[in-house]
Chain length 149, copies 2
DNA sequence: ATTGCTGCAAAACGTTTGCACCTAT
DNA sequence: ATAGGTGCAAACGTTTTGCAGCAAT
């Protein structure tokens, strides 16, 4: 199965941090990896509940935090006061273009962006951790517009 | 007084949008411009209340939204589920470097970043609105570290 | 056996809304 | 006169917490 590698990475991370290996944590990992695109913690909780899981909200929130720490998933923030996650597993790093009308999220990569964060950190005597580059606009082609808002 | 220009800009914006000119709105503008650095909407509300204002929470939130619309202030999001604002008035655009340990926010500018957002929007047939570029790291020099977290 | 993790519910937090009154137009 | 804005409080949605029981070490 293709998630075996992720399971192994998570297990190692838990061991290294002296966190316990529990079935619930792997249940959340499984659900997070199988989720398409970006999702909120509560979305995932509800989705898991709908598939007869007995997991608790707290465990989902806690585990997503751990998964973000070991970089199997990324935490995102698109300015709507809701933390979103997305799987990093077997995906290249990318940035986001968000339509302020309909909320549609487009992923893009630009080679010019890559080296900037590390350089800025060096300039200010910071140890680089992560960065987020979000561009907000309006999609002109309204055929694609989801108009969720 | 140096905020006269901002008051004028806001007044024009309100007229253009057929919003009413009310003393409360200018009270919020005044407070926002005089606030140093980044602030949350509720911080500003509390600060205004502490200086004997009778303004309501709803008015502060609504007015900050209007001030962001006319670009006298900027809305920021540093990943902690709290919208922050900062005055744009007489300031050059900049990006942010945030310490994940202590929450300290450093502003920087990098000329390479400027043109990217518009280009990306063109590529995807979007009308450019705004962008945010946040870098997260840990400050190595712990003398400066605020250790708020 | 001992912590740490879990589920549950309730609290906390920032933000938004509903409503009656008020005020700028 | 009348839309629209205001203050207040209560509701909202997301996230965090407290606690008793459970399970991984």
């Amino acid at each position: 199965m293709k998630n075996d590698k992720a399971i192994e990475i998570f297990k190692d991370f838990l061991k290294r941090g002296k966190y316990r290996i529990t079935p619930e944590r792997f249940e959340v990992l499984e659900a997070a990896l199988q989720h398409e695109g970006h999702f909120g913690a509560d979305d995932l909780y509800v989705k898991m509940k709908n598939t007869k899981s007995v997991i608790s909200r707290a465990t989902v929130y806690n585990t997503l935090e751990l998964l973000a720490q070991c970089e199997l998933i990324s935490k995102r923030n698109f300015g709507d006061n809701m933390t979103r996650f997305e799987s990093n597993f077997k995906r290249q790093t990318h940035d986001h273009l968000i339509c302020v009308d309909c909320g549609r999220i487009i992923e893009f990569t630009d080679p010019r962006i890559k080296k900037i964060p590390q350089e800025i950190c060096d300039n200010f005597d910071f140890e680089f951790h992560s960065y987020s580059f979000n561009i907000f606009g309006r999609c002109k082609n309204k055929k694609d517009c989801l108009n969720k808002k």
